[in-house]
Subunit: 346 residues, 2 copies
DNA sequence: CTGTTAGCGCGTTCAT
DNA sequence: ATGAACGCGCTAACAG
């Protein structure tokens, strides 16, 4: 049979309440008593029943982390950073909180389903990473859900996505638009005029903002928005490869390609090499995010660095109430242009 | 106040028991009644209380996944694959199970702590990824913990680590030794005789097995084991970079470097380039794992492909009881040599 | 500082 | 096919 708190109490000759207090460390207990209790716990190999204590306390030690795809370093880095901040003192039962990582695959339905599941678990907090899906119906459903979560006392932090006004959720957004603008300005400065753009999936804030930044820069230079040299696709290598092939076919004279992110850029580089184009001599290539492998690309990738780990760590601390929210519940985190070998003069 | 099962029951004019049955779908309920109940659930925005049902049912919908570092694609890929298999029908309450990802950072203490935390949550299953730490004391403690988990009905699957005999845990191990041997054989065949080896951290099964395979191949060719050209370090880029610099200093005449994994290999490549050595003309480089970025390295990395996603998916299915265990509870998964541009004739 | 008393919300017998 | 009653194991008042 499974050993319970009462068993420990009996063995330590104290009341169940005292055992609970020792285990949670929330109330003062005499050192001698505590010692006796801990010994009993040890001797009986007792392990607290999480569901039971969550039920009684009406809160759990679970923290949800929503990601598109945990296998993608972009999300893996953020998930790891959040997790590193949710432990430590402050929680019940030793202060160890558990991270529930939910792969939404970018699906609105799964996003909502997971939030319901986390609500069911009475999660202490939820961190939602990555851009949002731009669909009015889904946005309404999502915001309603966020509202309900925050009403129930679950702290919600958005990391890398635009604010969700009136929901009680805190937002740490990346300045994707500014980053996109800076990147394209850099290329324009190098003399590029015919620039292909491999965008992310449509209907996503990240995609739209980065693209808008690109077009902002183009417009500021008096150039057309290059819509006919803009292709969309998932944030993966295959997209970059296929799109680069396509771009080369459409416009053999292009001198630069901007990719939605570093992974896509890597695919584009491969296609360029296969087509016999030298980087950056014939075609410059730029990415976004500055994922760890980007510095080791050959040539190293020019990109926009997003402080993923720092931002996610901050999101984790805010979710735990260990850092105060930004004023207005919203903060915009800038990206930083990192110029490396993959871009050069046109 | 939070709405409970009883509220739903009242609104649907049925007993709480009936609502429970509808929600869990485990007992027959008249279609009309079910309809009424579901409508009430919807109208009240009712969300099941997870802790309460876990307490009553003595089991939860949580599945633990232990990883060294979720930001490392090696682990991210496995975690994602496990998660993709733990949903679906079979569980309670809609069959959706939640993945609790635990970053151990390779620390034995954290490994044990997380297992206790998962035991506390009454996790339905636990998948432990990556190699084990070779320390008798820790191994004993770990095995005892695994034993207790399996005794309590938690299914435990080891993915990418050697079996833990007598614990009730199923093991899907990678043939790191065979992979290491094959890789070094490949280099020997290309005429390399002075080979540097950048191993992983000491005291880890993965490190030891890959290194043993390397030495097996060396021995079979009648060569010394090359201990003086073997360096240890964490599985990261910095290790690869620093070790390659060191190796070049110790043995300027070396013609090949084998790295503990692809990430380390990338760091070594960078150091080699900085030192003016061409790959593979001057020095061949090989990695291990075949992570996604390896094909895009320049030159593309020769490596040993491990079917991470497939193995982890299988681990997930076994953990859910949806696939039968391998005979004896142990399966060895082979790696596959992938020859690309980073290795050439000596 | 410690013991006593009530539930927390649900699943599951047993009846019907 | 449905209802009534009990208990899962623990925490949180309230006493003392």
């Amino acid at each position: 049979m499974t050993v319970t708190l009462a068993d420990v109490a009996a063995r330590a000759q104290v009341s169940p309440a005292t055992v609970s207090r020792v285990l949670n460390g929330n109330y003062p207990v005499a050192a001698a008593t505590r010692e006796r209790v801990l010994r009993a716990v040890d001797e009986l190999d007792y392990v607290l029943n999480g569901p039971a204590s969550s039920l009684a306390a009406a809160t759990s030690d679970l923290v949800g982390i929503l990601v598109n795809d945990i296998a993608d370093p972009f999300f893996g880095i953020m998930a790891g950073a959040v997790q590193s901040e949710i432990g430590g003192p402050g929680g019940r039962a030793g202060g160890e909180r558990l991270a529930v990582v939910c792969n939404t695959g970018g699906s609105p339905e799964r996003e909502l389903t997971y939030l319901t599941l986390l609500q069911r678990q009475r999660a202490a907090a939820v961190v939602i990473t990555g851009g949002a899906i731009e669909d009015a119906e889904h946005a309404a459903a999502l915001n309603a859900k966020l509202q309900r979560l925050t009403d129930a006392g679950t702290r919600v932090v958005l990391c890398g996505r635009p604010p969700a006004p009136e929901t009680g959720a805190v937002a740490l957004s990346f300045d994707n638009r500014g980053g996109g603008r800076t990147l394209t300005q850099h290329l324009l400065l190098l003399g590029h005029r015919t620039i292909g753009y491999i965008a992310g999936p449509e209907e996503r804030t990240t995609t739209r903002h980065r693209l808008e930044g690109h077009r902002d820069a183009l417009a500021a230079a008096g150039l057309p928005n290059g819509a006919e040299l803009t292709l969309h696709g998932p944030y993966d290598r295959a997209t970059g490869h296929a799109a680069a092939v396509d771009l080369l076919r459409r416009e053999p004279a292009l001198t630069a390609i901007v990719a939605a992110n570093d992974t896509v850029a890597l695919g584009a580089c491969a296609a360029l090499r296969e087509a016999g184009r030298r980087i950056p001599d014939d075609v410059s290539v730029a990415g976004f995010d500055d994922l760890p492998f980007s510095v080791d690309a050959v040539p190293a990738l020019t990109t926009v660095r997003l402080p993923l780990a720092e931002a996610a760590a901050r999101a984790g601390r805010i979710a735990m109430g260990r850092e105060k929210e930004p004023s207005g519940g919203v903060a915009t985190i800038p990206g930083e242009l990192v110029v490396r070998g993959s871009t050069g003069r046109a």
